[in-house]
């Protein structure tokens, strides 16, 4: 292997990146920015359901619902039903045969759940004894974003890195520079490794920036050590960039590269842990293990939420490393299209 030629490829990638601030921004800023948006959306306060009370409802129930977080109004039965139909209120409460009767709008399960919570939430004076809850991981304050943030962080890193390297390599194919490189004594593996090294430096900066911002500015929970967080993000980014290069072989243009994004991204989201997979059949779960994000997201949750160290994430890191190695080798093979040697 010629070190001069290998480094020439790396240096050229870095020079191109230096001239292309938009790409660098996409890799460094975009994941953090999108993550921040998600945080804003997910940590807005709990929804306060709009509930109309009929005259038949006794006064203690009013207080109960108000404590449970409902916005109350008093309407006649006809008015309330009309308002419910127009979706101006979320529920109406009546009183029949000595029991409260609840009619919900019901088209949005989140709203329905909030309504029911209001009904049960305002602790009744003669309710069950309060339980003292102890948390092994997380805390009472842990919300949706804290819990799924690590998965989203992994996903955005994967997505943007995949896109940038894939596009860069597609351009190399369509402009003819790849063919020109391979019309010199440059070896195929030198192309792949040179590319990998150039973008790895960017990935390292990316991992540092994103991990730092996630923990400091976004206040994401980090129970484990920062260095493990960095290691997972970096390996995940490397798997994304080697996969991006590989799949660019199947894209005839930049446009087709974009078409590959949903194909690569959507299934990985499903298997990343965002949706509960415990009930999935065994063969389907195997598919999940064939996806880098499954391992990356699992390792990120281990480190960030459960304070995991090498013993907990070793298998995931190993799997990611195998992905990277396999994608790189396949890349070298795929370049045979341009030169057999």
């Amino acid at each position: 292997m010629s070190r001069t030629r290998l480094l020439a490829v790396t240096q050229r990638i870095l020079r191109q990146l230096a001239r292309d601030p938009r790409t660098v921004a996409l890799i460094l800023v975009a994941p953090v920015a999108v993550l921040w948006l998600v945080k804003l959306i997910l940590t807005t306060g709990e929804y306060q359901p709009r509930v109309a009370l009929l005259d038949t409802v006794p006064a203690p129930l009013h207080d109960h619902l108000r404590k449970g977080g409902a916005r109350l109004s008093n309407l006649s039965a006809a008015e309330a039903n009309a308002a419910l139909a127009r979706n101006e209120i979320d529920a109406l409460v009546g009183f029949e045969n000595g029991k409260p009767h609840l009619r919900v709008e019901g088209s949005d399960p989140m709203v329905t759940r909030a309504t029911l919570r209001a009904f049960q939430g305002g602790a009744a004076p003669n309710g069950p004894l309060p339980i003292e809850v102890e948390y092994l991981h997380g805390s009472k304050a842990m919300g949706f974003f804290e819990s799924f943030g690590p998965i989203l962080l992994g996903f955005f890193v994967f997505l943007f890195t995949f896109l940038v390297t894939g596009l860069s390599f597609v351009r190399e194919r369509t402009t003819g520079t790849l063919e020109r490189m391979l019309a010199t004594p440059l070896r195929r593996h030198e192309v792949v490794l040179g590319y990998m090294m150039g973008f790895s430096l960017l990935a390292l900066v990316q991992a540092t920036v994103i991990a730092t911002v996630a923990v400091t500015l976004l206040n994401m929970m980090l129970a484990g050590r920062f260095v493990w967080l960095l290691a997972v993000v970096l390996l995940l980014a490397l798997s994304a960039l080697s996969l991006g290069m590989l799949l660019s072989a199947f894209a005839g243009s930049e446009f087709q590269m974009f078409q590959l994004v949903p194909l690569v991204a959507v299934p990985q989201i499903f298997f990343s842990g965002l949706l509960p997979l415990e009930n999935l059949s065994a063969p389907l779960r195997v598919i999940g293990h064939l996806m880098p994000l499954t391992h990356g997201a699992h390792a990120l949750r281990q480190v960030m939420l459960r304070g995991g160290g090498p013993a907990d994430i070793g298998l995931d890191l190993g799997a990611l490393a195998v992905f990277v190695a396999a994608f790189l080798i396949l890349n070298v093979v795929a370049l045979r299209k341009y030169r057999r040697l």
Partner: protein, 240 residues
């Protein structure tokens, strides 16, 4: 007899069902410029790519400097300019040349001198610090040519080298190609401009993947009793 630097022997190549080259043979000797003349779709680019080792023939063989292609040693002696300019637009002309020069095996002073020499040759020396995305189409073509010439290769493969270059500069580039061939290099270029073909030592007329005729422009004209190469082409193409 001097051994040919480029030897194409009985080469056939198909892509899918389409036969692009059929039993093509061709030789280029040191000091010669050979022109591949033919309409688009005739197989010129495919033939050049086979010689550059970017693809391999289904039948027959291609040898460059006595080595059967593809061969990494032989690639050191090839300067290849494809139809696409194959440049990095974000980088300056000099950075493009530095990159491909390094891949071709140049370093340090050799690289600097090569860049300056090839840059002056195509009249781009003053524009080398500018990023290529500010270049005109003709300037990109010239930069691409300069990159092919950079490491002073024994074999020069040029696919449509003068497209988009103005007549004055085209003339000076042809002068340079002749001077370069005189140092013992072998040049194979494709063109569909007849008056360019006239300037070659030998011309191969290519159509539908077959070589219709092969010889010096003067011989071809004499043989067919036609005053121009265009006439020869029509003659061999069956229009008499």
């Amino acid at each position: 007899m001097v051994k040919p630097t480029i030897a194409v022997r009985g080469v056939s190549k198909s892509y899918g069902k389409k036969e692009v080259l059929r039993n093509v043979s061709l030789e280029v000797h040191p000091g010669h410029i050979v022109g591949l003349l033919g309409p688009s779709g005739a197989g010129k680019t495919t033939l050049v790519r086979l010689i550059a080792g970017s693809d391999e023939p289904d039948q027959g063989a291609v040898e460059v400097t006595g080595l059967r292609m593809p061969d990494l040693m032989a690639l050191e002696h090839i300067g290849y300019m494809a139809q696409a300019d194959a440049l990095y637009l974000e980088l300056s002309g000099r950075e493009n040349m530095d990159f491909f020069g390094t891949l071709a095996g140049l370093t340090g002073r050799g690289l600097r001198e090569g860049v300056d020499r090839a840059g002056s040759l195509v009249g781009l020396r003053d524009d080398l610090p500018r990023p290529v995305n500010q270049y005109s189409g003709g300037m990109k073509r010239r930069l691409s040519l300069a990159i092919a010439l950079l490491h002073a290769p024994k074999v020069l493969l040029l696919d449509e080298p003068t497209v988009g270059i103005d007549p004055v500069l085209r003339l000076s580039i042809w002068d340079e190609l002749w001077r370069y061939a005189a140092t013992g290099a072998s040049i194979l270029l494709t063109t569909h401009v007849m008056d360019e073909a006239e300037r070659c030592n030998r011309v191969a007329l290519l159509r539908d993947g077959k070589i219709l005729a092969h010889g010096s422009p003067a011989d071809l004209k004499k043989e067919t009793a036609r005053p121009t190469l265009e006439g020869c082409f029509l003659y061999y193409g069956g229009v008499r």
